[in-house]
Assembly symmetry: C2
Homo-oligomer: 274 residues x 2
Amino acid sequence: MASLVPVTDPADPRLADYVRLRDVNLRKSLEAEHGLFIAEGEKVIRRAVAAGHPVRSVLMARRWFEPLADLLDGVDAPVYVADDAALEAITGFQVHRGALASLERLPLPGVDAVVAEARRVLVLEDLVDHANVGSIYRCAAALGIDAIVLSPRCADPLYRRAIKVSMGAVFAIPYARMTDRHGDLAKLRATGFTLLALTPDQAATPLDGAATGGRVALMLGSEGDGLSSRWLDEADQRVCVPMSARAMANGVDSLNVTAAAAIACHALVRDIPS
Amino acid sequence: MASLVPVTDPADPRLADYVRLRDVNLRKSLEAEHGLFIAEGEKVIRRAVAAGHPVRSVLMARRWFEPLADLLDGVDAPVYVADDAALEAITGFQVHRGALASLERLPLPGVDAVVAEARRVLVLEDLVDHANVGSIYRCAAALGIDAIVLSPRCADPLYRRAIKVSMGAVFAIPYARMTDRHGDLAKLRATGFTLLALTPDQAATPLDGAATGGRVALMLGSEGDGLSSRWLDEADQRVCVPMSARAMANGVDSLNVTAAAAIACHALVRDIPS
């Protein structure tokens, strides 16, 4: 049974998990140091708890207690209650979704483990935008991608904004983080995966003609630069979403990475019975 | 040749086009009343001008003059120059992209005219989120959709945020706004279009089996509610992006509207030689 603890002082050390939630650099180091992450909103908090993440504490406006009461009944952690002004003073933004939870990270599985039973895998190279990462997780989970592998420097799926944009899908799809950005790609191939590199380059094979017969790992690059030349070279096949010739002539020459990822995920899972 | 006019006073009436750019309601009425819209950033301003929109004025930090000098050479409108603090005081936000232009709207073509030569059309029903509208325009233009038809209440593609997210694609694809939300659908069908309704309902026909042989108009609904029952009833066929059974069991039961639109546009244009 959770204990309700009224709080008013933004400097209260018990609220240290929740400070300056919009300060990306601060949050990165704070969350890494303490092995925590922040989930926002009832639905996402429920998914995080269901995925086995222990709750460190909850912070909310009192009116949000009822919708979460059943969940908090089973949680042995303090539930801090504050008014809207105090919530904003603590977190640095207006907490529209009412409830925040600080949860413990769990050890990530290794790349080997996460792809062991997988047939369709995404490999994300150095995406820096948390919203894009969240959006790709949501797509991948909804469409039936089996697992995601992140390059060592790819943005954190458990960053608050990534979780929020993913609608909690970051808890629904297994993922691992590479320790060796080139060696781990080679290992994927050795495990029987065909490595496809998604590129805007229209000289590449259109997605519908891609070699998707066996196990497939689709590599996606960052928003601006795309895949590194090293990863492009590692690919068994380069694939593209065909652009309209008229659009290219008009200077509309690219999709955003999440639109391209959605199309690619759909193409990848299409031929597999679920 | 544009004249450079230094400005400092946020209340200067010559800057009335640029006030409170983040105040959606104010901007809607102001832009409608004066028949203007705001383009932000060099690339987007160039596209707006290339699309034939007369420039009312430009507002920028002085350092942004050079990159736009060639364009402004041909523009007979005042170029207001302000420092960053004044820019923020006028517009209500930090103008990262350096240059803003106020441009005149052009009369939109009618639905009949915009679809006359089209084979692939999107019909957007009551989307309220400007970023989603912009993102769908970008996808549609890049993939080769011929035209877009908006329901009477659909969000404005020339709202600043929609233009920005579209990367200027709102200037690259012809569009019209319905005056009669039901009659205009019937007219599309009478013109030979098969009306497809995209729905998350998994009982619908998977996209890959959709009736895309002839002229196709794909209807997309709003973020939360989807298509209205009236529009669903008007459809010749309801189509869906197949979701993963595992994901549905895990509660990941939907794609965001822009991901679904990307997949649908790709499916729609796939069989047409460009």
